[in-house]
Amino acid sequence: MSANLTPRAKFATTLLRTAAALSRATGRGDGSVIGGRVGLIVEPRLLELLAEGRHVVLISGTNGKTTTTRFTTAALEAIGKVATNSFGANMPTGHTTALAKAPKAEYAALECDEHYLGQLLDAANPKVVALLNLSRDQLDRAMEVTALAAKWRQTLQASGAQSTIVANADDPLIVWAASVCPRVVWVAAGQSWTADSAICPNCGAHLDRFGEFWRCTNCGLNRPSPQWSVAHQGEAVVGPDGRRYDLNLQLPGRVNRANAATALAVASLFGVDPAQAAPRLSEVASVAGRYAKVERDGRHLRLLLAKNPAGWLESFDMIDPVPPVVLSLNAREVDGFDTSWIYDVDFTSLAGRKVVVTGDRRTDLAVRLEVDGVDFLVVDDIRAAIAAVPPGPVEVVANYTAFQDIRAEFNRVN
């Protein structure tokens, strides 16, 4: 913790907080990124110095990292103060700010952008690293997903030996990357998107799948037996000793039960009794607006963020079968300019219900839905979408900036 920071690091920390506060005061976001940037200019080793002496967990993957970080934070708070980058600023500047703002926190749960995992492993010396899943995301600029898994594998080989890895046994790319580490705790966290792992990441041969099991017919890479899993019946997580921990999550869907299983596995490595941690997860009602419930003119909207094909498929699995659905799609820089991934999403499950589309790229969605035989209505924005559906529950699925636009309409709901 920061008690033994050098004067230079203390100065950098003070500047960081000032810059972050200024940024907030001038309405330029929460200041995480700018604050961290200022701090790291003054003391390039600031992240390392701030992480020293704390018990750190890094959480990374294509989908679910913000929610899993939130669950993990809730679980760890059972035993102490936790520093966390809860604003989704998941690059080193954001991590630096999160640690600087919580000098007394003994624990840190840091959501980590997939491309910064190596840098964070070196800087934060984590006790635990949780790896959730890897699938296609932001095609026009992100690294191809197999190449990213290879980079993780290399990084973990070089710097992962000191950490315990909590990894998803159901994702072949994750298993391949994590299996170079000496200590891995496997979680059966599921895989909603298998198209990026039809072939073995290790040798290129076909993976055979039977039910939840998979193996490579050539090199033998296969699904490790998980120590943690989501119960097949009811809302519960099953731990390594076969004990059931009941969940009563407010967050919907199988994928969030899997995120909870990962969080409980992580927390137990820090000495938190899962029976004590599980009820804390059910207190999480929304995560930076994700899953938030808002009301307008008698319409009760539930907001779901989905950034890529796997995320959209997971959302369709979460939503209630009857209410109208609003879909919103943008293709601004952080979303990726390429919308072709919507053809990787199967929309046919929406047929027969009221579907309203909006967002900058609503016409792309309209063409997509027509191809899948789903009736739809195209409107200009979320206000028009609300007006177009009857009072009652409404499910809203949006990609990143489309989601932020909708959040802004509801006073940046958390």
């Binding site: 095609l139 919308t339 053809y343 792309d364 063409v367 899948d372």
Partner: protein, 241 residues
């Protein structure tokens, strides 16, 4: 029309399906069914034999490693080359397009292609990522094309092929031309839902598959695809100003 059930083979989705390439299959099936033509989509994995009897073949884009593996398996199988000789329509995207030529570049070296199209591909100075537009070859009768490209390769056309289009925005083969066609084989860098944005190109392939003229296909209500095309061309114009 001669065909009541259209068998469309989608080749090697396990290897080559990076950018929503399944979209082309969905669009073709949608447009065929809307004309009362039944469609039997056949997804053929790279460890399966390619059927000789299909009416159309699609092959998508992918990373270097899978591209090289796919080319090797296609050469061994031989069915795609025979389909091309038999005049079956083939639509090849990006990495799938490159491997129809005499050679392509992947994993830092040159690989032998299928020699179905008279062209060869190598590495360009930079990755071509973004919107692409062009005027299609007049003989195809499909007007301007619009799509999204994302590739590191450059393609050099030989005498025996025509460019699919002359580039008005983006890079395509080399900044001047985009894609290639010969007989009923079309290759393009427009990935994923290229046919969603270019319904006339989809109809051309369908017409070839059923042995008719595109003008003979019953017209469809293309309000939404036309609006999408308008928006994409307009966005390029706005960006150019």
């Amino acid at each position: 029309m001669a065909i009541s059930t259209l068998r469309i083979v989608w080749l090697y989705p396990d290897l080559l399906s990076t950018y929503g390439d399944r979209g082309n299959l969905l669009v073709l099936a949608h447009r065929a069914r809307a004309r009362g033509i039944d469609v039997e989509p056949m997804q053929i994995r790279s460890d399966q034999h390619i059927p000789h009897t299909a009416d159309m073949y699609l092959i998508g884009g992918g990373e270097d490693g899978p591209q090289a593996v796919a080319a090797d398996r296609l050469l061994q199988d031989g069915a795609l080359s025979r389909a091309a000789e038999a005049g079956k329509p083939i639509l090849a995207i990006c990495a799938g397009y490159q491997l129809l030529g005499s050679s392509f570049y992947a994993n830092g070296r040159a690989y032998e292609g299928l020699n179905i199209l008279d062209l060869r591909s190598d590495r360009g100075p930079s990755r071509a990522v973004g919107e692409i537009a062009g005027d299609a070859h007049p003989q195809l009768g499909i007007g301007p094309i619009t799509g999204f490209e994302n590739h590191g390769g450059r393609t050099h056309l030989g005498e025996a092929v025509q460019p699919l289009a002359r580039v008005t925005a983006g890079v395509g083969n080399d900044g001047a031309t985009e894609g290639a066609w010969a007989g009923h084989v079309i290759g393009t860098y427009m990935h994923g839902p290229g046919l969603a944005r270019n319904p006339k190109l989809a109809d051309l392939l369908l017409a070839w598959a059923v042995g008719t003229d595109p003008a003979q296909l019953p017209p469809l209500d293309d309000t939404w695809p036309e609006r999408l095309r308008f928006e994409r061309f307009q966005a390029l114009q706005a960006a150019a100003q």
